[in-house]
Amino acid sequence: MVDISIADATVEQILANQKGLIAIGAGLAVGLSGIASGIAEKDIGAAAVGAMAEREELFGKGLILTVIPETIVIFGLVVAILLLFL
């Protein structure tokens, strides 16, 4: 790894450094919100399958309820896009 001290860094190096940090932030926003929605969907999905096993007509409702936590990861995605492109 190259040791860069801020005082000696050129303007290009500092800009590149900032871009890297923004990319890490965007990655965290999508990644963590993805994990969070996964945790939230785990129980809902299990419950939906359980209910469906007994009553097939609950498939539609089960599917919709299961994907509701997907909104969390969409928020993450929006934040990531804002970070990267604005």
Binding site: D43, I44, A46, G50, A51, A53, E54, R55
Partner: protein, 344 residues
Amino acid sequence: MFFNRRGSKKYAYITARVRAMKSKLIQREVFPKMMNMDLAEITRFIGESEYKQDVDELAQKYSGIDLVEHALNQNLARTYRKLLRVSQDEPHYLITEYLRYWDIWNIKTILRGKYYGAPLEEIQEAVVAAGQLGYRQLVSIASMESINDIKVALENTPYHSAVSDYQGGMLSTVENNLDKLYYSRILSSVGKSKGEKLSLKFIKTEIDLKNLKTLFRTKKANLPRDEIMELLISGGAELKDGDLRRLVSLSWPDFIKSMEDYSYWSALSEVISEDMPSLIDMEAELDKYAMKYSSKVSHYYPLSILPIFDYIIRKNNEIKNLRMIARGKESALSNDIIKRHLVM
């Protein structure tokens, strides 16, 4: 520990499934309608509902009330076995312990049958293979002639300790031992987390209700104090050991009066009095109380064992009601009498 006690992650599937199963139970409005049917119509009605498979399977072998009786028993066993099949880890373990009730029931039935010299077919009719002992195992135990053979057959089961001292003759002691064994096992199997504490309270309430029924029956029959104490199960929620001792030593009128001190009074107040002629209403009210209580607590903590216990109680109750209606119709009882026995 051989299973993970933490969290509710194993409960989402089973509780949702059990709730869906609960929605398929016969609604309470249907029972009054069934009371206007005759036995053949009732058989056809249950043959078109969730009991279709059982009625179809058994229709070749049995007819009339026997068909209904067998179909109901088989359906109960099948439903409970399904619960065991579709659950895993902690819920599976707790359901297994809870359903040992039926093993106890079956062992009692077999011993009673042997005591009164009932033929094998009759014992077979009465067993419900919903616990850990399978139907074949139960039939093979029921076909044994001597008590010693039965004891040997039960050697590798947890129930051996309760029957090991039994030498034939009066059954009350061995039946008591079996009940106590069941409740001590289930009380020790429930852990300390929030949902499990509620389950513990649920089971303790069940013990209370059982003790109350025993108390009413024995006090009414004027049994001596020591004998009643023998029959009671300790570990209840409201009726602790001290309360039980106090209640047992009271006279019948004082006993009825002292019921006011307990929360069960709300259920009992209208049906008990000093000169109550029969205990049927009291028992039906206590069963109703148990149902209401179980459905109430199952909403307090939805991702726990409680909705499953609630379903187990409701299913058993549905079967009891159907049997009551079918039996009542067969023996031409009036609708009023049948209605009094129904728990809705």
